[in-house]
């Protein structure tokens, strides 16, 4: 590794490229970065760059100069991460973001296109308000699903706990998908294209399973 690349690290992230500039004086870092960019302009062209500058204290003039140099090369600087409050403020003054948006807590990326039929996503509960699970196969939750949480599954959904959030089973149109819970009281329940809300329940609850029967959503006691 030559000296230039040791000063800067470039990494692909969700929001574009993360460039870490550390371990040298700012002018040297900028120089190294610009050289690196010019040597691989096709790689950078049209990119969105987030800079991580660590403890560097940067003023508006320094940061805006770099931003302009980047934009001359067709690269947009959109965020600056820093541990220095001065630099953070500078970045804010320039209208740059100072934090990366984190991916949602339990966001699940549906991975393989071809899922075996018995593939299930295992989730340890409770799934709290704001939590969202999206999966192409079946979803099993060990614990409660609170209201404000959402599960979207290509297959069936089983909740070993109280289901109070919004669930959508058979989201890709599978009408044989079912939703089971120890206490079935979802804010809204969808299977394939049908939507239902829980009826007000009286008395003791019992495990139930909801399924589509002749185009109607029905819930009945869950006998295994």
């Amino acid at each position: 590794m030559d000296e230039t690349t040791s000063l800067i690290q470039i990494k692909g992230i969700r929001d574009g490229l993360l460039v870490t500039l550390a371990g040298a004086e700012w002018p040297d870092l900028v120089k190294a970065f610009i050289e690196n960019m010019d040597s691989r302009s096709a790689f950078f062209q049209g990119g969105r760059v987030t800079l991580d500058v660590g403890l560097q204290e940067l003023r508006v003039a320094e940061l805006s100069a770099l931003r302009d140099q980047l934009s001359e090369r067709g690269v947009s600087l959109w965020a600056v991460l820093s541990e220095s409050p001065l630099t953070e403020r500078t970045a804010q003054n320039l209208g740059l973001a100072t934090r990366l948006s984190k991916p949602a807590r339990i966001e699940v990326r549906a991975e393989p296109e071809q899922l075996p039929e018995d593939m299930a996503k295992w989730v340890k509960g409770p799934l709290r308000s704001g939590g969202r699970i999206e999966f192409k196969g079946n979803v099993v939750v060990m614990g409660d699903v609170n209201s404000g949480a959402e599960i979207v599954a290509g297959g069936s959904i089983i909740v070993w706990g109280r289901l109070r959030g919004v669930v959508h089973a058979g989201a890709q149109g599978d009408e044989n998908a079912v939703v089971c819970a120890l206490e079935l009281a979802p804010t809204q329940l969808r299977i394939a294209g049908e939507i239902a809300v829980s009826p007000k329940k009286q008395g003791k609850s019992q495990p139930e399973v909801a399924r589509l029967q002749d185009g109607n959503l029905t819930a009945e006691p869950w006998h295994m």
């Binding site: 409050p85 807590r105 404000g148």
Partner: protein, 261 residues
């Protein structure tokens, strides 16, 4: 001294965070602890009023962070309790004037000086909330026995778990035992059942809390009031004591059995 940093958060506004911060801080200070409260609600500061210190503000949190004064200069000492300090929020700025790393640095500077740092988080889950929890060793989540407040608390607990700030402890504020008995209010059990975290305090509904806040005389100064006692108990639990929860039900066991279905 190495202070413990406690943040009180709720998600929903108006559940009583500021009042609780004031009362818990007062309760700790009456127990000989050195306490600094920080008002994290920049732009909508209130804690100074509830503590009765609003006319003594010279410097604020943003002044410290932007280097216009030393930390010490922004700490307002309470008139009644010499071990209680407040760092007020700026009223003329907004949440973006402070970053989470600023809060961490500020608290680290303060840690050797006091036993407790109590941070009042603003409502919401955005920048102000992130700032308030950044330095926290422990977060107390506050809710009322209402469905909307409980749902917001649930969201906050989820966010805290995601940030590695768990496990949070729960304060249930404004519980009305009579309404719970009639089945018109969620009970402590209902709330705990839903949120599934440890309980650290139950504060009964009490008109005097409002009166005290308006006067700038936190109730915890008065040991006789039930709500004041509840805040004293939270302080004791924070200090590691085992304190049973107040008996807010005046009925006996037999009556209680009758009410249960």
């Amino acid at each position: 001294m190495t202070a413990k940093v406690i943040t009180i958060a709720s998600g929903k506004g108006g559940v009583g965070k500021t009042t609780s911060v004031a009362n818990i801080a007062v309760a700790l200070a009456t127990r000989g602890q050195k306490v600094t409260c920080i008002d994290g609600d920049i732009g909508l500061r209130n804690l100074d009023v509830v503590l009765g210190l609003e006319n003594r503000i010279v410097y604020d949190l943003v002044d410290v962070i932007e280097g216009r004064c030393r930390l010490r200069q922004a700490m307002i000492r309470d008139k009644r309790l010499s071990d209680l300090y407040l760092i007020p929020a700026a009223q003329t700025r907004d949440k973006t004037a402070v970053s989470p790393s600023d809060m961490v640095r500020l608290c680290d500077e303060l840690r050797p000086e006091v036993d407790w740092i109590i941070i009042d988080s603003p409502a919401g889950i955005e920048r102000g909330f992130k700032n308030a929890i950044a330095a926290a060793d422990r977060v107390l989540v506050m809710t009322n026995p209402e469905v909307s407040a409980v749902r917001d608390a649930d969201r906050v607990i989820g966010l805290l778990e995601a940030e590695g700030k768990g496990p949070a402890a729960l304060i249930i504020n404004r519980l009305n035992p009579a309404m719970v008995r009639r089945g018109d209010m969620l009970s402590v059990e209902d709330v705990l059942d839903l949120l599934a975290i440890d309980l650290i305090g139950i504060v009964p509904e009490d008109e005097n809390v409002v009166v005290a806040s308006n006067k700038g005389m936190p109730l915890a100064l008065d040991g006789k009031n039930k709500a004041g006692q509840a805040f004293q108990n939270i302080a004791r639990r924070l200090m590691g004591e085992k304190v049973p929860f107040l008996d807010l039900e005046t009925q006996n066991v037999f009556q209680r059995l009758l009410w249960r279905k």
